[in-house]
């Protein structure tokens, strides 16, 4: 098992290297937490300053699509967790299959998101394009704009996540990364996906749920 792990420069031991990989990923996720955290703090502050306008804006969100997407994303994280487990047990095909399942759910999420944006456009909520609805005036409009920035940024991270999962699944399936010795690539990809999921778990209540 251990012979499948190549020690990179400058590491002297497997344990040291994998500890470093995990710490690196955690630090990276901390930076992402600060990125989305800044936006969420801003939104939260804004909500407290303009409670009525924010509630009004939230009423125009597509609550059911948001809720469905939450469920989809949580389920995809379950698939990823199972994939990581399979990787630790050296099960190549199961790992790739679980990751593919998570990716499929991710694609469903993004598709629903696209439909939701289409509905938002129809309702005149989109900035720049379309016929602006009266809801967009004043502080409610700002809340809606923050919603678009947050969800667009999140969708971008989801797309990156799909690429990451896809790469991991391919490497594992083709044997370029041997399990379980080199399972770290699946673990790292999994961590990233879980994080993107957690961001959504915060975004959903902040933007969709407090409807006054």
């Amino acid at each position: 098992m251990s012979e499948y792990v190549t020690l990179r420069e400058p590491y002297a031991a497997r344990r040291q290297q994998s500890d470093a990989d995990f710490l690196g990923m955690y630090v990276f996720l901390a930076t992402e937490a600060m990125l989305f955290g800044a936006l969420m703090c801003l939104t939260f502050l804004y909500r407290t300053q303009h409670p009525q306008a924010s509630a009004l804006a939230a009423q125009h969100m597509q609550l059911w699509i948001g809720a469905a997407n939450t469920g989809i994303l949580l389920t995809s994280s379950l698939f990823v967790a199972l994939g990581v487990l399979a990787a630790r047990h050296g099960q190549r095909r199961t790992t790739a299959g679980m990751l593919a399942g998570a990716m499929a759910l991710g694609v469903v999420f993004l598709t629903l998101k696209g439909i939701e944006y289409g509905l938002d456009y129809r309702d005149g909520l989109m900035p720049v394009i379309g016929h602006p609805s009266p809801v967009r005036q004043g502080p409610a409009g700002l809340f809606i704009d923050l919603y678009f920035v947050a969800t667009a940024l999140h969708a971008l991270h989801m797309i990156v996540g799909l690429v990451v999962l896809g790469t991991a699944a391919t490497l594992v399936l083709r044997g370029a990364k041997r399990l379980p010795g080199q399972a770290v690539v699946v673990e790292m990809s999994g961590l990233y996906w879980h994080f993107v999921d957690v961001v959504w778990v915060f975004l959903f209540p902040i933007f969709y749920l407090a409807r006054g």
């Binding site: 303009h50 409670p51 009525q52 306008a53 005036q137 004043g138 502080p139």
Partner: protein, 318 residues
Amino acid sequence: MNPFFQAWPPEASLHAVRVDQLFIAFSALTVLLTAPVFVLMSGFALYYRRGRDVDRTQAPRGNWRLETVWTIVPFLLALIFFGWAGWLFFDQGHPPTGALTIDVVAKQWMWKFEHPGGQREIDELHVPAGEPVRLVMTSQDVIHSLFLPALRLKQDVLPGRYTSVWFKAGLPGVYALRCSQFCGFDHSVMAGRFVVMTPADYSRWLQQAGTDGSLAWQGFQRFRALGCSGCHGPASTRRAPKLEGVFGHPVALDGGRVVIADEQYVRDSILYPAHDVAAGYAPIMPTFAGQVSETDLLALVAYVKSIGTAAPSQEAGR
């Protein structure tokens, strides 16, 4: 004023004198805390030069008692100044009631001042000495900042908001008035004269300055011209809050909040009526955004303020 060199900025108010005292006192503290560092560092570097036969035995690695002392003592000393400076600053945030209110509108790249009697000035501000003066300020475009060095004061002037500052000038004279928040091309020439006059001179100046009527009266004209009296006037058939006796008093809002009706509240009610609807009223007031300039808004505010001193009627808020 010497055109070639200025040794110290003029002190045009008691506040300026106090700020200077604070500054000089704190400078003395900084010298007290810095001089030992300079002296000892150079002293040690020379005294303990390699090759000099001096006592280097038992060089200390640390001394936590000393560290504690030199951590805590300077901090406590600094806190004294924190309190002193804070007190001076907060004093500036609380104008006495009945202060002369002058409205200020900043735009790229000029300052517009309007006295309560309607006298207008551009890039020049005349004020009476010995009386508290309050400036209510807003910007038409970007953030500016009104800087009156002789008073040791400045305050940023924001679009969409009223900020205010007050002072009591003491020494008649002509002083500098500058913009101190970068605002584009002509930021450095967005300046003018700050003229402090004796109260007698100021009254004379007010009389000979042209006016289209007092600010409140101008506001009343706009009030009628824009149709506000259609809903808020005595003969109105619509159910709208009466504005007499409202200014400066608490207003109950829809949703349970209570706010004080100040300049910002009046301005926001005209521009964003759907935001803070008075309790018990339907949100039917249209917005006047785009139909009123900042000057109009200030005039309307002055009008609502002028009728705010009447006894509150039955329907003004709840």
